[in-house]
Symmetry: C2
Subunit: 187 residues, 2 copies
């Protein structure tokens, strides 16, 4: 199952061995937490199997989904990870899941000794940043219906697997209103 990582970038023997030696494996039941508000995020997490989410809970107790992740995706609170600051976010499993974890000191070690992997992570963040940027644009310019359609287009796999409550929370509307949007789309 660790081959998943190798698919993403070509590695030589040494790089592969070092990565393998630094990785730990973790199994999560449905609803189990990988990160909770107040924790410091100490790992980069790579999802091997299942489906997860990262979200915030506001003062009223409402959850707001920041990101989903499935097989072959990274899911990490980069802010907390890099600044060693307690996170405001939660990460939990929407389905039984399996993740690979790399600790911060190991990642830094890898960064400094293997520029190729360093560059891989830069590209990773660049792509994540580009997506976030597109999402901000949607948020400030689109209607709920447009946001929903964009979500379906961008995440066709996820849209079948996760509940509308989760989708509603991701695009920033209530589940009731999302239901009405869907109804008007069916017409």
């Amino acid at each position: 199952m660790i081959n998943h990582i190798k698919k993403l970038l070509p590695l030589d023997k040494l790089e592969e061995e070092v990565l393998l030696s630094k990785i730990t494996f973790k199994k999560l039941k449905r609803r189990q937490f990988l990160l909770q508000e107040g924790d410091v995020c100490r790992h980069y997490n790579f999802i091997v199997e299942g489906c997860m989410r990262m979200y915030m809970v506001d003062e009223k107790g409402t959850e707001h989904n920041l990101q989903f992740g499935e097989k072959n995706w990274w899911i990490t609170d980069i802010g907390s990870f890099h600044s060693d600051v307690p996170t405001q976010l939660f990460i939990d499993a929407l389905e039984p899941s399996e993740v690979l974890q790399i600790k911060k000191e190991d990642l830094i070690f890898i960064y400094t000794h293997f520029p190729k992997i360093d560059r891989y992570f830069r590209v990773l963040i660049e792509n994540a940043f580009i997506k976030m940027q597109a999402r901000v644009l949607q948020n400030i310019s689109a209607t709920a219906e447009e946001k929903y359609l964009t979500f379906l287009k961008d995440y066709p796999n996820l849209s079948n697997r996760i509940s509308q409550i989760q989708i509603a929370s991701y695009i920033g509307v209530t589940p009731e209103f999302l239901s009405k949007v869907r109804r008007s789309l069916m017409k």
Copy 2:
């Protein structure tokens, strides 16, 4: 004026010389474009003086501000830059401005020969990503008033210099409504 970059990370003589040799200077009048929809974004742009914005224009002709930039900030459409794809964004100057530009091939050259600078740009993107993430959270969870107050807190310099039309477009409300929010805040 090129010292601005050096303040951001300690450079040795060689790194400094290489950077200097790869940089070009550009002066912009108020309202002049640095990038327009349909262009491919070919430079990383570092603002030396003035104030700029990056924005999208929707089908109705409404502008939506994605990012502002002032002295010592980078402003670039990273998506278009890295994929050589025509951008959907505009970058123009809100005030007379001066920028330093690095071409893509030069940046790649620097990345491969100077890992330290490579890492500097990774950190740059990480920080930008973290901010974008926080902004998405605001977008899906906060009211217009909260978004406005957050903007004032995050960009105290900018809020004095740029018009409320620009701020409204950044937080995703109409200028009329922002005016009403401000009125109710004065109480």
